[in-house]
Symmetry: C3
Subunit: 143 residues, 3 copies
């Protein structure tokens, strides 16, 4: 039974939805020792989030971003938490709707993602720094 946990910082990204599968994998080379297991990813922030979706066409990601901006607009009259800027309160709500953490199955030393799946960083702030992620890996080692 293998357990490991690493903390790393993603590259800073502009507001929007970004494919980060390769960047995440570069931080967890120990993944390829695991036969059957799970990878847990947790973003330690309240205005950026993680999701899984289409890894091929970048217009999917820009459409997701535009749709989130419509579902959770800036400057809505019911916001009271406004002193951190117009992008802040929408960022909190978008993070709750899309999610702070992900668990992904590991099979034979690799993530068992579907053909069209990738890991998304949803960056909801206009000018954030690199976001910190905790990756926890567990499973049975390859024999």
């Amino acid at each position: 039974m293998f357990w490991d946990q690493v903390s790393f910082q993603l590259r800073p990204q502009p507001r929007g939805v970004h494919l980060i599968t390769r960047e995440v994998l570069a931080h967890i080379p120990q993944l390829n020792q695991i036969n059957v297991g799970l990878l847990h990813l947790f973003i330690q922030h309240t205005s950026a989030s993680l999701a899984i979706n289409e890894n091929a066409d970048p217009t999917v990601r820009s459409d997701v971003r535009r749709h989130l901006d419509i579902l959770v607009p800036e400057n809505a009259p019911h916001y009271q938490h406004t002193y951190e800027g117009p992008d802040d309160m929408p960022a909190h709500i978008k993070s709750i709707l899309t999610g702070t953490e992900l668990t992904i199955p590991i099979k034979n030393g690799a993530l068992a993602l579907g053909t069209w799946q990738g890991i998304y960083l949803c960056e909801h702030r206009n000018a954030a720094g690199g976001r910190r992620v905790i990756a926890t890996l567990q499973g049975n080692l390859k024999s």
Copy 2:
């Protein structure tokens, strides 16, 4: 410490929200060997998703479907990713909002769901095939 992972295909479903608790359980009979543990379910697609909600009245599921169709309509003017049909880009966004994966506690050989809880397949495409799910089980075996 017990680990197992199985991949199976759900029966094809029309667009809508479907209760699949029994169908999932039929694929993982090894569940009843686990005393305390976790079941992880991961759908390997970007236009269908998994959720947990009310297992009794089917109008809950049709209301969820109608509400998702309102929150994420077809043919919104801001979509650029349109070449896979009008149901495709909304399917990606709905999948992100509802989620690709679930973890459910296992207790004494069964899922520790609440009385009114069941597992939902949220099928967002009009004419999809059977969706592939990876189930990962872990825990302590019953003595």
Copy 3:
């Protein structure tokens, strides 16, 4: 390898979004024995949910509540499931959008939350009782 599972009832809360980090921690003192691991929280209900977000300013939580009430209004004309009261069907949809369960990394005997992160109970009913949560802890014990 450590496994434990406890079931507890949260204090009843009015409709809204509530910070419950301390209340959850009070139910799982065994957390501080774990060096590296994961905490899984599962709410056994279909009209309340769990999320992670900002732990400092309570107006974030009231803004989240107001925004959910706008995204999923009461008495929408497309609801058929209305016989449990006007707050019921919106509660099911809000629960699906925000999520029934959370996994949080454990590091050196504590939750590895970011500085500004806390655990939210999203109570979507007007007059619910205390909600039942199953906490499952796993990891390596401190040496």
